[in-house]
């Protein structure tokens, strides 16, 4: 692959990189849509991604690598609404040009967990019962409650897999000589 970018531009960018905010790095407007941010990330990757710069000398490749990592960071923050708003308020306070990824959780972290516990009130209720059954070591009860949960959420793959797993465990423990 051939670098599509002028070596002078690489050296210049790596020098001022620390003074740029994420929007400037990606070369987008602070009001840019997620689609535009994604496009900008793709465009920057074409220039700076390690795969795009194999023919450059080692120094320049190193620079590109550093720019590429920073661009990815910017993209990680700006593509997610929750992270982006955390960043925007920090930036508005003139606090910092960067944000730690671990400090700004993504929007779907919560959503993911909510879905794992059930998508309907009844599903959630029976899933919670199954959870406490399990804590109490009551496998049969947990399986029963998950089956109830499944009658409300027939498509919940997580529930199904769990039931299957618990059945396996029950089978294994009943086969074990006591």
């Amino acid at each position: 692959m051939n670098a599509a970018i002028d070596p002078l531009e690489i050296s210049a960018l790596v020098r001022i990189m620390d003074e740029l905010d994420y929007y400037q790095l990606l070369n987008v407007d602070p009001k840019a849509s997620t689609t535009d941010i994604r496009k900008a990330y793709h465009a920057s990757s074409r220039s700076f991604h390690p795969d795009a710069n194999r023919t450059l000398n080692e120094d320049l490749r190193g620079h590109c690598g550093n720019i590429s990592k920073r661009i990815t960071e910017a993209y990680c923050v700006l593509r997610d609404s929750r992270r982006r708003s955390a960043y925007d308020s920090k930036r508005a306070e003139g606090d910092s040009l960067r944000i730690k990824l671990a400090d700004a959780k993504t929007s779907h972290t919560k959503q993911r967990k909510a879905q794992a516990r059930g998508a309907t009130p009844q599903g959630r209720q029976f899933h919670a019962k199954a959870e406490s059954d399990l804590k109490a070591g009551n496998l049969a009860g947990a399986i029963q409650n998950l089956q109830m949960a499944l009658t409300f959420e027939a498509g919940n793959v997580g529930f199904k897999a769990l039931v299957a797993e618990l059945r396996e465990r029950r089978k294994a423990s009943s086969e074990r000589p006591s």
Binding site: M1, T72, E73, K100, A102, K105, K113, A116, L134, A161
Partner: protein, 646 residues
């Protein structure tokens, strides 16, 4: 002169090599005209090595000298579940190397897993050289997307040992997507469902002309066609026990026969409604009489036996879709990869789950290697560019006090990426700090894969909390992790590529290359005696996991917190986090669907979150006032995290 670079799909069961020539990708046939070769290595008495389908045929006669499914062991610790399982079912000897590494012992010689894989890769190199009529030294090698750093590094080492310059470690589903979309000018969202011999991966990608962006990838490195076989083996073995009251699982020869029959039955069921398994002789009874077996297996029986395994794949698909913020309705295509996806029951289940028929125009056995070859060619300038923007499959975590591990870089973060955290020392005039790095989804450190531990010393000594050490975690485009540390005051840097037990040290790799272990594939060189081939102990950075309890020796630096206050709190077994922000609640709450193990009780107070350790897990104060974990488990506390909210 055109540069040659090949693509190799190094599979658990089968390996496939492809090459781009004159703008066209070709799957390269081996000397027998086969387009894939079994990833099986057979060791002859004279020390020479045979690789491929003919080696696989030797399993029944010489199971102890024939290594298969090595990919299930590569990059693992000797104490891991997978190694224990392999020891139970494989007849070849799996032994422990220093620092919890794994070696395969054959005819009194020990081989590391990268050496075994290198033999398979060397065979592929030779196949390619026959086709190219020239030396082939550059390759892109694929790995399951869900492979961790240890497994990726070990695969890269295997490439080097085979005499290849590994241009890139590429994720299998990403390679498949590239093969599917390359040069097609597509604008699509696709899911790649890759169920292979030993691993399952699902990746969701957005393809836009020359850009292949992975939105999310999830997987299970314990799930594949081998597991489907196991269910049939159990069925057959139970039948056998019922009939003769002898367990054939305990006889390695009998077991291999069952395994072969099971795999054939499974494959037959991808074509027929039912299949008859006949084994004339499974084994001989104590009296010397021949004990055989005959059993019909129907599709519906097989489907029931394996239902839970198939369901497990969809649980993983759920996760991948959630992580990419998509539903099945957003997908324009579903690509099937891997031998087991030839089974109608799997195709139907996939079609049902994704609410669309999977693509029929993709060869599930070859597509990964074709994608790897396209990328290899594009890296050396022999094919138009296509950008592969991939993600890291697992949370990268750092060990903290209480046996916990805090995420530094979350799974499904695009790579390459870098994050820096600042830490400070725990004691006045402390001379070194130790950092443990993990990959996995668990807050309990020891439930994750430990990547390594490294010691950083040589920073300016000072009062505790005056010394500030920047620790930088980097994940490169191959998904390989690197940790560096530097002293904020002096800028002095210490750096190490993470290597630990399962990994080979640089000197070892060099020695292996010098001995040309992979060369036996070609030359059938005489076996060196075990004495000649000395394996040096692996040196790792810092402590051996499990050997001694780690000590708390540094804390994360907080510009607003008074480190000394946090220190005293560190001694009452608690982790204190600052304000209860939403982010932190998530952090503490980030448990499994249902926590199957006992976990620390959680109190959410007005001031913050306190994680109280159950009494039996509570660290004791020792004489120095430092923590020591009971039982010397892997997850000793090392870092007091006092990351107050700004």
């Amino acid at each position: 002169m055109a540069e040659i670079a090949v693509g190799i799909d190094l599979g658990t069961s089968n390996t496939c090599v492809s090459m781009m020539q004159n703008g066209e990708v070709k799957v390269l046939e081996n000397a027998f005209g086969e387009r894939t070769s079994a990833s099986v290595v057979h060791f002859h008495e004279d020390g020479s090595v045979e690789v491929g389908n003919s080696a696989k045929a030797k399993v029944i006669h010489a199971p102890a000298q024939t290594v298969r499914s090595a990919k299930r062991l590569i990059g693992r610790y000797h104490f891991s579940e997978e190694v224990k399982k392999a020891q139970a079912v494989y007849a070849y000897e799996i032994v422990e190397a220093p620092n919890h590494g794994v070696r395969i012992e054959i005819r009194e010689e020990e081989f590391s897993l990268p050496e075994i894989s290198a033999m398979v890769l060397r065979e592929m190199k030779q196949i390619a050289e026959r086709h190219a009529g020239d030396n082939v030294t550059q390759a892109v090698i694929t790995v399951p997307a869900y492979f961790n750093d240890n497994q990726r590094q070990a695969t890269k080492d295997a490439g080097r040992i085979a005499g290849l310059d590994v241009l890139r470690i590429l994720n299998e589903p990403t390679a498949a997507a590239l093969a599917y979309g390359f040069g097609m000018g597509l604008n699509q969202r696709v899911a790649v469902y890759d169920l292979g011999g030993g691993t399952f991966d699902i990746s969701v990608l957005e393809i836009g002309k020359d850009i292949f962006e992975v939105l999310a990838t999830c997987g299970d490195t314990f799930l594949g066609g081998d597991d489907l076989d196991d269910r049939i083996i159990d069925l057959l073995a139970d039948d056998f026990v019922g009939k003769y009251k002898i367990n054939p699982r305990n006889d390695p020869y009998a077991y291999e026969k069952l395994k072969l029959a099971a795999e054939n039955a499974k494959k037959a069921l991808s074509i027929d409604e039912e299949t008859l398994v006949v084994i004339d002789e499974v084994m001989k009874s104590a009296e010397g009489e021949t004990l055989g077996l005959e059993r019909t297996i129907t599709r519906s029986e097989f489907s029931q036996l394996t239902h839970d395994l198939i369901m497990r794949t969809f649980k993983v698909c759920d996760e991948a879709l959630q992580q990419s913020d998509l539903t099945v309705r957003d997908l324009d295509g579903v690509i099937l990869v891997g031998g087991p996806t030839r089974l109608p029951m799997i195709r139907e289940a996939v079609a049902h789950y994704f609410q669309q028929e999977p693509r029929g125009d993709v060869d599930p056995d070859e597509v990964v290697s074709i994608g790897a070859a396209i990328h290899a060619a594009s890296l050396v300038g022999e094919a138009p560019d296509s950008m592969l923007l991939d993600v890291t499959p697992l949370d990268l975590r750092i060990g903290v006090a209480g046996g916990l591990a805090e995420p530094v870089i979350e799974r499904n973060t695009p790579v390459p990426i870098e994050q820096t955290r600042t830490f400070t020392t725990f004691q006045d005039h402390q001379e070194s700090v130790q950092i443990r790095v993990y990959q996995g989804d668990h807050r309990q450190a020891d439930e994750n894969a430990m990547l390594g531990q490294f010691e950083f010393s040589g920073f300016s000594k000072g009062l505790r909390s005056d010394v500030k050490i920047d620790v930088t975690f980097e994940i490169n485009a191959d998904g390989i992790v690197k940790v560096t540390a530097s002293d904020q005051a002096t800028g002095q840097e210490a750096s190490t590529q993470i290597t630990l037990s399962s990994g080979l040290a640089e000197e070892q790799i060099e020695r292996i290359i010098e001995q040309d272990v992979a060369g036996r594939v070609a030359t059938g060189a005489k076996a060196e005696s075990a004495a000649q081939k000395q394996i040096a102990p692996i040196t790792i950075n810092g402590d051996v996991p499990g050997a001694t309890a780690a000590k708390v020796d540094f804390v994360e630096y907080s510009p607003f917190g008074d480190g000394k206050t946090d220190l005293s709190e560190g001694f009452d077994n608690d982790i204190k986090l600052g304000d209860v922000s939403e982010a932190e609640l998530d952090l503490v709450d980030d448990d499994e669907l249902i926590q199957l193990t006992q976990e620390a009780d959680m109190d959410i107070g007005a001031e913050g979150i306190t994680l109280e350790m159950p009494a039996d897990q509570a660290p004791d104060d020792d004489d120095d006032g430092l923590f020591e974990t009971s039982g010397g488990d892997l997850a000793g506390p090392q870092i007091q995290l006092t990351d107050e909210k700004k």
